[in-house]
Symmetry: C2
Subunit: 880 residues, 2 copies
C-alpha cells in the first residue's frame, strides 16, 4: 500500500520531491543523529491525493497521521491533547522548491482550554502558557479560519489600554486569560463556530490549509513567473514544539558556521536566553554574540561547535543554523547554505579546499560569478540603507562619489588637483574624453548602453550611469534638477554603475581587492576551463590592464575609437567629406602613420598573444557634426546675413554633403565591410598600418599575431574580395621586408544571413567571431538604443523576454542562429576557430551557452575578464 | 575508337553538349532533310583533347577532319584547295551555351592565290572573287594571326584614295587584286610569315584559334559572371560556303515565321537579291519585304513556306530563320526561336494551342511572365531610339508624358481640366495625394523604392520614377535642372517607371491592352496553378481593381495609409503626442468611426474573399513633422523674438515631444506589435473598427472573411497577448450582436527570430504571412532606403549579389530562413496557412521559389496580379 506519511527518521536530503525541501532537510539532520525535535512529514503525494479526492483528507491518510503522531508521543513520552503531559506541534508547509506566497507556519498547535492548564503547570508559568495559547488562536484563525488579523490586534490593543500598559509583555497571566476568552469570542462571531478544541481537528484543518495554499493566487503567480510546475504540490511538516522561553536555562539563536562577511573561520551569530525567535525579531532585548555562550553554557557551546562541524562536513558548505535550547537541552531546527559576500564566498571556497572538504571543482561552483564583479570595482559599503533619488542604466560597474561638474575641461583641472569630481553631461562626445579620464565617474541623462559614455567608461573601468532621463541638466544655469530638487555645480552626488542608482551626498565606498584568495580561485578556474578568455581593448592601456586580469589575447580591437580621438577627427572628417578619390587618399595618407602607431602600441602590449583587429565598422556619418545643428546654424546665419555670400555657400555645401551621408537606419546602413566595398582605400590604409606596425615589431624581435577581422559580412563574396585585398598587401610587405608574416583573416558573424550561409563564408574565413550585439539587433529587429529607451522595459515587465537580450543572450532566437552558424562553418572547415566578442562575452549564463555551443573563446571588456574566467570554468565543470 | 568529328547528317538537336548549340542545330535541320550546306562539327571533346595535348591538334584528329572534308567534297563535287572547282568553307565556334567573347566566324576559308582564280572563272566575276579573297585575308589575319584590324583598314583607305573613290564597292577587280597583294605584304611584315596558302594549314590554324578563344579573358569573365562551367569547351563547325551574291538568281534574307510584333500568322521578313548578309547590314540597298519574293521567285517562296512550316511544327515555336539563295537554289543557314513582343508572345501561345502544336501547359511556358507587365501599363512605342537624360529608380511601372508641375494643387487643377501633367517634387507627402491622383505620373528626386511616392504610385498603378538625384528642383524658381539644362514649369517631359528613365519632350506611347488572348492565357494559368494569388490593397478602389485583375483576396491591407490621409493626420498626430492615456483614448475615439468606415469599404469590395488586415505597423514618428524643420523654425522665431514667450514655450514643448519620439533606427524601433505592447489602446481601437464593420456587413447580408494580422512578432508571447486581446473584443461583438463571427488571427513573419521560433509562434498563429521586405532588411542587415541609394549599386556591379535582393528574393539567405519557418510552423500546426505579402510576391522567379517552399498564396500589388497568376502556373508546370 502506498505511504503518504514519513517520520523524520525515515527520509533523507535526496527526497526533496517527495518530502519537500524542509522535510528532507529535517530528515537528513535526524539521520545524522542531530538533536532535531521529532516529527513527521506528510508527502507531496498526499497533496495530489487531497486534490484528487476533491479537497478532502482521506480516512486512510488520517490513520497514517495518527500512527506517526503516536510514534512521536512514544519518543517524547508526551501525548497529543493530553491534560497531563500535552504534546504541542508546529505545522509548516514545505514544497520541493522554496516558494513564498504559501501558508507558512502555525506554532503551538494542540493547545486548548485544557492543555493550556497542563502547560502552565508543567512550566510553572501560567503567563507563558496563556501567551502561547493567545498567539496560537490568533495565528490559526488568521491562516486556517480566514478571520482577519486586525480583529485580534484590536482586542489586544484594548486589553493593554484597560491594563494601562504599552507593551504586550507587560500583560500578566490574568490579563492574558481574559484576552484568550475575548479571542475565542471573536472567532465565534466572525467564523460562526467556536474555536476548535479537539487537537486532531486543529491538526487536520491546518494540514488542509497548507494543501489549499498551494493553489492560492499569490502562489500561482509566483509559480508562473518562476516556471515552477504546478504538479509539484507541497508537503506538510508536523514537528514537536520546543521552547526557548521556558526559563533561564532556555534560549534561542541563529549562527553562521563562519563569518559570512569576511569569510573568517570562526562562529558568527547571536543568541538570547529565555526567549523565542519572535522576541529576537522584536528587538526589545539585545542578543548576545555567540562567543559569549562559551562562558555562559560551555557544554552547550561545545555541542554547538560539534554540530557546526558535523553539518559543514556533511554539506561541505558554510551553514546558516537556527537552534533552540530548552531547559539546558540543545535542539537544531534548521540548517541551510549560508548567504555570503563575494569576499567571503571566495575565502570559503579556498579554505574548504585546504581543509579537504571540497575539491577545487566543487569550490569553483560555490563562487557566484555574477558577484565576482563586486571585487573588481568600488562598491557602496552599506547598500541596504541607501536610497536612490534616480535610476539610469547601469552602463559601467562600480560606485563613485564626487562633486558634480558639467564641463570636461573643468573636470580635468579639478581632477588633476586631486579633487573628486563626477562628470555630468546630457551625453558625452570624443571632446569629453580628457574629462572622463580625470573624473571619478560619469553620469549622463541621454544615451543607452552603447552610447559613447557607456562604451568609453567600460573600457576605462570607470563607473558610469547613462540615460538617466529623470534628471534635467541646465548647462546655462549649471544645475541638475530632479523633480523639484535642484543641485548646483559642486554639490556632491554618488553614482553606482552596477545598478544605475544616483544617490545624494557622499557615501562610504569599499575599495576593490583582488586578494590572494581571488587569485587562487582564478588560477583553479584557468586549470579547469576549456574556453579561452580574451578582451575587448582599443588602447595599449586597456590591453595592459586586461593582461593583468588574465586575458589571453584581444578578441576585439575596434579601430573606430582611434578615428574619434580629438586630434584626428578633423582629418577623418575631411577624409569622409572628400568628393574625389584623390582627396580621400590624401587624408588617408595623413591617417596612416597615426594608425600604424596605434597598432604598434597594441600589438606590443599583447606581445606573444593573438590580437583581433576589426577594420572600420560604423557608418561614416557617425564621425560628422549633427545635421540639425548645422541646419540651425546656417538658417540663423542666413537670417542675420552675418556672412558674405561665398561663406554661406560654403556652409551650404557642407550641410549638403553631411546630409547626403545621413541614413535613415544607420545600423542597417553603409557601414562595416560595405564601406570598403565602395571605398576600398579606407581598409587598404588600415591594412597598411597593421602590416607596417607588424614589420616594425618583428624588427624589434617582438612576436605578433594579428588576426584581421572584416565586420558585417553577409555574403561570402564580400569577404572573398576583402581577404584578397589583405593578402595582396601582406605580400607586398613580405617581399619588401623579406620576413615571414604570421596573420589570419576572418570575419564577424553578426548578421542572420551570415549565420545561414556560414558554410560559404567559412570557405574564406580563417576564423569567426560572433558579434552578438549586432546579431541580437538584427535577429530580434531591435535597435538597442531605441529599444532600451522605449519599449524594452514594457517587454521585460510583461515577461515577454525574461531578461534584456542585450545583457543575457537570447538563446532561443539568437542562440539558434549561432548554432546554425557553428555547424555550417565547421562543416566547411572542421577546425574553424570560433569566438564571440559581443557584450555577452562577459555574462556568466551566456558564457555557459557559448561553451556548450563549442566556441573556442569569449572576449569581454578588461574588467569582466576574471568573471569570464570563472564562468568558463564553472561551465566546464557543469557540462563535463 | 573515340570519334571527334561528326558530319551534319550524323547529329541531332539533343547533342548540344557534344556538338555545341550551333552544330546540333545544323545537324537537326540536315536530319529534317532541309537544304543545309553540307559540313561537319569538331566536337567539344576535341577541345578537351586539344588542351590535354598541350594545345596541339593530334594527327588522329587531323585525319578525321580530312575524312569528313572528303565526304563534303563528294557531296558537292568540289575539292578543298582545288584549282578547278575549289571547295570554300566557313569556320565557326559553337559552345553548348551561347557565349559572346569568343572567336566567332571566318568565311571563305580555302581561298589562296590559285583558288581565287578558279572562283573568278567559275562565277565569271573576277571582282567578286578578289573581294572574297581580300575579306578572307583580313578576317583570318585579325582573328587567327592576331594582326590588328586597323593595318588593313588603312591600306583599304589608301587604295580608295588612289582610286579616287569613296565606297569599297567602287573598287574594281584590278584595284582589289592590288589590294590583296598589299594585304599579303602587311601579313608578312606584321606576322613575320607569309599568308598561308595551304588550305589545310588555314583550316587547322582556324580550328586552333577557335579552341584557344574558349579561354581568352573576355570569355572567362563571361563564364564567371554567368556561372557557365569552364569544362564545357567549345565545338567547331566547318561548313561549305554558299553565296547569295553570285548574280541575279542569288540572294539572301532573314524572316520570322509569324509577325514578332503583333503575333499575326503571316511570314515576316525581308530579302535582297545578289547580296551577302554584310550588304544588308551596310544599308546601301533597301531590302524587299519577304512577300515580294512570291512574285519574284514563286517556287523559292513556296519552298520557304514549306520550310517555315516544317521548322515551326518541328520546334513547336515561332522561328527566326536565315537563308541564302545561290543560283536559284535555296539554302537554310540557321533557325532559332524568334524574339517577340509580349503581345505577340501571348498571341503565339494561344494560336499554337489552337493549331494543336502546343498543349496549354507548353504554351504557358512560352510567355515570359516578366514581359507581361508591359501589357498592363502604357509603354514607350519605339524604345530603342529613345535617349534618357537621367535615370532614377523604377518605382512604379508604365510610361507617362506631360507638362512638369511642382505643386500638387496646380497639378490637380490642370489635371481636372484634362491637361496631361507630371507631378515633380523632391519627395511627396500625404499632402500631395490629390495631385498624384490627377497626374499622369510622378517624378521625385529623393526617396527610394519604399518612399511615399513609390508606395502610393504603385498602389494607384501610376507611373513613378523616384530618387532621381541627378535632377535638381528649385521650388522658388519653379525650375528643374539637369546638369546645365534648365526646364521650366510647363515644359514637357516623359518618364518611364519600368526602367527609371527620364526623357525630354513628348514620346509616343502604346496603350495597355488586356485583350482576349491575354485573358485566355490567364484562364489557363488559373486552371494550372497551385498557388493562390492575392493582392496588397489599402482602399476599396485598389481592391476593386485587383479583383478585376483576378486577385483571390487581399493578402495585405496596410492600415497606416489610412492614418496618413490629410483629414485624419491632425487627429493621429494629437493621438501620438498625447501624454496621458485619457488624452490618447480621446483621439482614438475620434479615429474609430473613420477606421470602421475604411474597413467597411474594403471588406465590402472583397465580399466573399479573405481580407488580411495588418494592424498599425510603422513607428509613430513617421506621422509627425520633421525634427530639423521644427528646430530651425523655432530657432528663427527665437532669434526674431516674433512670438511672445508662452508661444515659444508651446513650440519648444512640441519639439521636445517630437524629439522624444525620434529613433536612431526606426526600422528596428518602436513599431509593429511593439506599439500595441506599450499602447494596447491603439490596436484595440483598430480591432473595434474591424468588428464594427463586420457586424454592419453581416447585417447587410455580405459575406466577410477578415484575417487580422499582427505585424513584427519576434516572440510568441507578443502574439499570445495580442491574440487574446482580439478574441476578447470579438467576444464582445458576438455577444452584443448575437452573430457568429468568422475571422482568423495570424502574424507576419518578418524577423529572423520569428523564423527560428516559428514552432512556438504557430501555437498562437492561425496563419503566417511572410513580410519579405522587412525580412530581407533584417536578414541582410540592409536598410532598403539607405542601401539602394548608397552601396547596393556597387554590390550589384561587383556581382556580390546578382540581383537587388529587394526585387528578387535572396534565396540563399532569406530563403533559408523562410524554409526554417515553414517547416517549424507546420511541425506545430500541420495545415498552417502560409502566404507572402512582401514585394517579392509579384516577382516571377521568387514566386517559383515560394511555390516550391510550399506556400499557399502570394500577395502583390494589383497591377502585378496577372503576372503572379502566370508565374504561379509556370512554376506548377515546371515543378510537377
Amino acid at each position: 500500500m502506498k505511504r503518504y506519511v514519513y517520520s523524520f527518521n525515515e527520509g533523507n536530503r535526496s527526497m526533496k520531491e517527495l518530502l519537500g525541501g524542509k522535510g528532507a532537510n529535517l530528515a537528513e539532520m535526524t539521520k545524522l543523529g542531530l538533536p532535531v525535535p521529532p516529527g513527521f512529514t506528510i508527502s507531496t503525494e498526499a497533496c495530489h491525493l487531497f486534490y484528487d479526492e476533491n479537497k478532502t483528507i482521506t480516512e486512510g491518510l488520517i490513520q497514517e497521521i495518527k500512527k506517526a503522531m503516536a510514534e512521536v508521543e512514544i519518543t517524547l513520552e508526551k501525548k497529543f491533547g493530553s491534560k497531563e503531559n500535552p504534546l504541542l506541534v508546529s505545522v509548516r508547509s514545505g514544497a520541493p522548491v522554496s516558494m513564498p506566497g504559501m501558508m507558512d507556519t502555525i506554532l503551538n498547535l494542540g493547545l486548548n482550554d485544557e492543555t493550556v492548564l497542563a502547560l502552565a503547570e508543567e512550566t510553572d508559568n501560567e503567563r507563558f502558557a496563556y501567551d502561547c495559547y493567545r498567539r496560537f488562536i490568533q495565528m490559526f484563525s488568521d491562516v486556517v479560519l480566514d478571520i482577519p488579523h486586525y480583529n485580534f490586534e484590536r482586542a489586544l490593543q484594548r486589553a493593554k489600554e484597560i491594563a494601562g500598559v504599552t507593551e504586550d509583555t507587560m500583560l500578566d497571566a490574568a490579563m492574558l486569560k481574559d484576552l484568550v476568552e475575548e479571542y475565542k469570542k471573536i472567532v465565534r462571531k466572525s467564523g460562526g463556530k467556536s474555536f476548535p478544541q479537539d487537537p486532531y481537528e486543529q491538526l487536520l484543518l491546518a494540514i488542509k490549509a497548507v494543501f489549499e495554499s498551494w493553489n492560492n493566487p499569490r502562489a500561482q503567480i509566483y509559480r508562473n513567473i518562476n516556471k515552477i510546475p504546478s504538479h509539484y504540490g507541497t508537503a506538510v511538516n508536523v514537528q514537536s514544539m520546543v521552547f526557548g522561553n521556558k526559563g533561564d536555562d532556555s534560549g534561542t539563536g541563529v549562527l553562521f558556521t563562519r563569518n559570512p562577511s569576511t569569510g573568517e573561520n570562526v562562529l558568527f551569530g547571536e543568541y538570547l536566553m529565555n526567549a523565542q525567535g519572535e522576541d529576537v525579531v522584536a528587538g526589545i532585548r539585545t542578543p548576545q554574540p555567540i562567543a559569549k555562550l562559551n562562558t555562559h553554557m560551555p557544554e552547550i557551546y561545545e555541542e554547538i561547535l560539534k554540530l557546526c562541524n558535523t553539518l559543514e562536513n556533511h554539506h561541505r558548505d558554510v551553514q546558516d543554523i537556527e537552534f533552540t535550547i530548552e531547559k539546558g537541552r540543545l535542539f537544531v531546527l534548521q540548517t541551510r547554505s549560508g548567504k555570503r559576500t563575494s569576499k567571503a564566498a571566495v575565502k570559503f571556497a579556498v579554505d574548504l579546499v585546504e581543509e579537504g572538504l571540497l575539491t577545487k571543482e566543487e569550490a569553483l561552483l560555490k563562487v557566484d560569478a555574477y558577484q565576482l564583479d563586486k571585487l573588481l570595482h568600488r562598491t557602496i559599503s552599506n547598500e541596504g540603507n541607501i536610497e536612490a533619488i534616480a535610476q539610469g542604466l547601469p552602463a559601467s560597474p562600480g560606485a563613485a562619489t564626487g562633486k558634480i561638474i558639467f564641463d570636461a575641461d573643468e573636470v580635468e583641472q579639478m581632477g588633476k588637483k586631486g579633487e573628486k569630481v563626477l562628470l555630468v553631461r546630457p551625453e558625452t562626445t570624443p571632446d569629453d574624453i580628457h574629462g572622463m579620464v580625470e573624473a571619478q565617474g560619469v553620469l549622463t541623462t541621454k544615451g543607452g548602453m552603447t552610447s559613447h559614455a557607456a562604451v568609453v567608461a567600460r573600457g576605462m573601468g570607470k563607473p558610469c550611469v547613462c540615460g538617466c532621463d529623470s534628471l534635467d541638466i541646465d548647462l546655462e544655469e549649471q544645475t541638475l534638477k530632479i523633480g523639484n530638487r535642484v543641485f548646483n555645480k559642486g554639490d556632491v552626488l554618488t553614482i553606482d554603475g552596477s545598478n544605475g542608482n544616483v544617490i545624494i551626498g557622499e557615501v562610504e565606498l569599499v575599495e576593490p581587492e583582488l586578494n590572494n584568495d581571488v587569485l587562487t580561485v582564478l588560477k583553479w578556474a584557468d586549470e579547469t576551463r576549456d574556453l579561452a578568455v580574451r578582451t575587448n581593448a582599443d588602447t595599449p592601456q586597456d590591453a595592459q590592464k586586461a593582461r593583468e586580469f588574465g586575458a589571453e589575447g584581444i578578441g576585439l580591437c575596434r579601430t573606430e575609437h582611434m578615428f574619434m580621438e580629438p586630434d584626428r577627427l578633423p582629418i577623418v572628417q575631411k577624409m569622409i567629406l572628400a568628393e574625389t578619390l584623390a582627396d580621400r587618399k590624401k587624408q588617408l595618407d595623413k591617417l596612416l602613420p597615426i594608425q600604424q602607431n596605434d597598432f604598434y602600441g597594441i600589438l606590443k602590449a599583447m606581445a606573444g598573444l593573438p590580437v583581433t583587429i576589426r577594420l572600420l565598422d560604423p557608418p561614416l556619418h557617425e564621425f560628422l557634426p549633427d545635421v540639425a545643428e548645422l541646419a540651425i546654424e546656417l538658417a540663423l546665419l542666413k537670417e542675420e546675413a552675418q556672412l558674405s555670400n561665398p561663406d554661406i555657400q560654403k556652409r551650404e555645401d557642407l550641410l549638403r554633403r553631411v546630409k547626403a551621408l545621413q541614413e535613415s537606419n544607420p545600423m542597417l546602413g553603409h557601414r562595416g565591410c560595405r564601406l570598403a566595398i565602395v571605398y576600398p582605400e579606407i581598409y587598404e590604409m588600415q591594412v597598411h598600418a597593421i602590416f607596417g606596425a607588424v614589420i616594425q615589431l618583428i624588427n624589434e624581435g617582438v612576436e605578433v599575431l594579428p588576426e584581421i577581422m572584416i565586420p558585417l559580412v553577409g555574403e561570402a563574396k564580400e569577404l572573398e574580395i576583402l581577404k584578397d585585398m589583405v593578402n595582396r598587401i601582406a605580400e607586398e610587405y613580405k617581399e619588401k621586408s623579406n620576413k615571414e608574416l604570421k596573420y589570419m583573416v576572418g570575419t564577424m558573424i553578426e548578421l542572420p544571413r551570415a549565420c545561414v550561409t556560414a558554410d560559404k563564408i567559412a570557405e574564406h574565413a580563417e576564423f569567426f567571431s560572433f558579434g552578438t550585439n549586432d546579431l541580437t539587433q538584427t535577429t530580434l529587429g531591435f535597435s538597442r538604443d531605441d529599444a532600451e529607451g522605449k519599449f524594452l522595459p514594457s517587454y521585460i515587465q510583461q515577461k515577454i523576454y525574461q531578461d534584456n537580450p542585450f545583457a543575457v543572450l537570447d538563446r532561443e532566437g539568437v542562440g539558434a542562429l549561432m548554432d546554425i552558424a557553428v555547424s555550417k562553418g565547421r562543416k566547411t572547415r572542421e577546425n574553424l576557430k570560433i569566438g564571440i566578442c559581443g557584450e555577452h562575452g562577459g555574462e556568466p549564463s551566456s558564457i555557459e551557452f557559448f561553451h556548450n555551443l563549442g566556441l573556442g573563446y569569449v572576449s569581454c571588456s578588461p574588467y569582466r575578464v576574471p568573471i569570464a574566467r570563472l564562468a568558463a570554468a564553472q561551465s566546464s565543470i557543469r557540462n563535463k
